[in-house]
C-alpha cells in the first residue's frame, strides 16, 4: 500500500529532513510513527500525501510513484487519503458542519446523502451538537476532533494522522484511538504519528521510529525497540544493507 525505497528528503535550504528511508506498509495495516520533535514525522506523512516530493528514492502509494506523479493525478490520490493535520487546517469562515462537508462537496456528493454522512462523522467524534459552531469557538481538542471528522467523512482507504491525540486528554485520546481501531478493523490502512506513550501501550501496533530523519529501530506493540537481529530476519535487507523498521505484525495488526 505504502512503500518507501531509499527515500531522502532535502528541503530547500539544504536541511535533510529524511535520510535513506525504506519500509513497507501493507494494505489494512496500522503503523505508528514516533520520534522526537523535528525527527521528520510530518515530512514523511507529507510525502505519502504528495504534499512534498522526495528528493531521491521512491515513494509508492497505491501503486503510484509520488516522485513522478502528475499534478493532475494528485486530487484523485488525495481523495483516497484521509489527512489529519498537526495544525488542523480548519476553515474559520464556515461552520463545523460545512468544514466536514468540504471533502464530500469536492467529490460531488448528493447533498442529502452528504448531510447524513457529515452528521454521522460528527457524531463519531462527539461533536454532533456543535455542528453549527464556528471552529474558532471550539476548544483545541474539539478542533482536533473536527479535523478527524473531516478526514474520515469520505471513508478513505488510507488514513494519515499527524499527532491526532496531541491536544486530547486520556479519555478522548482513547476514544479517538477506538475510532481509528474501528477503521483499522474495516481494512483502512493507518499511519499515525504520535508522541503519546500511553496510546502506544494501550493500542499496540508496529511502530516506525525516526531519529534525526533516519529510521531507527522498529518495534512491535509496546513502542519499545526490539532486538535488531530479529527484525532483520523478518525482512530481507536491501542492497545497501540499510534496514528499516519492519517487523512482524503485532497482535493488533
Amino acid at each position: 500500500m505504502i512503500r518507501f525505497n531509499q527515500v531522502c528528503k532535502r528541503y530547500p535550504g539544504g536541511h535533510e529532513a529524511l535520510k535513506n528511508l525504506s519500509f513497507d506498509i501493507a494494505e489494512g495495516e496500522m503503523v505508528y510513527l514516533t520520534g522526537h520533535s523535528g525527527a521528520g514525522k510530518s515530512t514523511l506523512l507529507k510525502l505519502v500525501a504528495a504534499i512534498e516530493r522526495p528528493s531521491s528514492g521512491g515513494v509508492l502509494v497505491k501503486g503510484q510513484n509520488i516522485r513522478s506523479i502528475k499534478p493532475a493525478a494528485i486530487p484523485a490520490l488525495r481523495r483516497n487519503i484521509g489527512l489529519i493535520f498537526q495544525d488542523h487546517k480548519l476553515l474559520f469562515d464556515r461552520s463545523a458542519f460545512d468544514n466536514v462537508m468540504l471533502p464530500l462537496q469536492i467529490c460531488g456528493f448528493d447533498h442529502r446523502e452528504a448531510g447524513k454522512r457529515v452528521r454521522a462523522a460528527l457524531d463519531k467524534v462527539g461533536l454532533l451538537e456543535r455542528e453549527k459552531a464556528n471552529p474558532i469557538a471550539l476548544s483545541g481538542g474539539e478542533q482536533q476532533r473536527l479535523c478527524i471528522a473531516r478526514a474520515i467523512v469520505n471513508r478513505p482507504t488510507i488514513l494519515l494522522a499527524d499527532e491526532p491525540t496531541g491536544n486530547l486528554d486520556t479519555e478522548y485520546s482513547n476514544e479517538i484511538m477506538n475510532i481509528f481501531k474501528s477503521f483499522h478493523q474495516v481494512g483502512v490502512t493507518l499511519l499515525i504519528s504520535t508522541h503519546d506513550e500511553g496510546i502506544l501501550r494501550q493500542f499496540p501496533a508496529r511502530a516506525l521510529h525516526l531519529r534525526k530523519g533516519e529510521l531507527q529501530a522498529h518495534s512491535t506493540g509496546s513502542g519499545q525497540a526490539t532486538d535488531e537481529t530479529t527484525s532483520h530476519s523478518t525482512r530481507p535487507s536491501n542492497d545497501k544493507g540499510q534496514v528499516a523498521g519492519y517487523s512482524t505484525s503485532s497482535g493488533q495488526a
Binding site: E52, R78, L90, L102, P103
Partner: protein
Amino acid sequence: MKTLIEHLRVLRFTLQRLLLAPNATLLNILIIGIALSLPVGGYVLLKSVQALGAQIAGTPQISVFLASGTGVGDIERIGDRLKQHAAIKRIEFVPRETALKKMQQSTGLSDIIGGLSQNPLPDAFVIHPKDSSVASLEALRDELKTWQRFEHVQLDSAWVHKLEALLDFGRMAVIILAVLLSFALVAITFNTIRLQILTRREEIEVAKLIGATDAFIRRPFLYFGLTQGLLGGVAAWLLISASLLLLNHTLSALAQLYASDFSLQGLTTGDSLTLLGFSAYLGWLGAWFSVSQHLWQIEPR
C-alpha cells in the same frame, strides 16, 4: 445531473458572495456598466444617424438633363431605352414646363421666374436605380454620360459620401473605444479575482489538500467573474435605456421644430442579448486570466 447540482451550488455560493460585500460589488458593477455604456451609446447614436441619413436621402436618384431642342420622338426613344436598362427600376419624365411650375411653387421665387421671358430649364429624366450603393450609382452615371443628347447627368452623391465617411469614422471610434474598455473590464475582473484568491488562500490550500481538482477550485471564481460581467452588462443596458428615454424626450421637442420625427433608436433584442453575452464573456475571461495567473502559486505545504 450530479454536475448540474454542483454547478447550481456554486452559482448560489457565488451570489451569496456577491451579496456578502454589497458595496464593493455594486461599485464594480457600476464601473463595468459605465465602461460598457460608452461604446454601446456610441453605437446607438451611429445607428440613429445612419437611419436619419437614409431617411433624408430617400432612394438616391440620378437626374438627366437633355440638350435643348431634343425632339419629342427622341425623348420617347430615350425613355424606352432607359426603361429597358437593367440597372434602372423606374424613370420619370419631367417636361421643362412642369419643372418651371414646380420651381415657382417650391422656392418662392415666383416673382423672378414670372419675369423671365422664356423658360430656361431643359427637359429632364429622373432615374430611380435598382441598386443604391455608391459604386453602382457612379457606374450608372458614367454610363449615362456617354449617351447622346444627354447634356448633363447629375448624381447627388457628394453628401452621401460625406455622411458615409463620417459614419465610418464614428464606427472606428466606437470600435476603438469598445476594445479599450473591454480591456478595462477584463482588468477590473482580473484584479477583483486576484484579491479574492488572496483572501481565500487558506480555503484553496485546504481544498487542494483534501483532493479538490483545479477545475473545482477554479469554478467559483469563474462564476464570479461571469456573474459580475453579466450584471455589469445589465447596468450598461439600464444606463443606455434611461439615457435614451431622457434624450428622446428633449429630442422630440427639437425635432418638432424641424418637422421631423427623428428620435434615437433603442437597443433591439439582438443588441441587448449581444451586450449581455459579451459582458458576461469578458467577466469570465478576466476571471480566467486571474485564476490561471494566481492559482498555481498557492500550493499547500
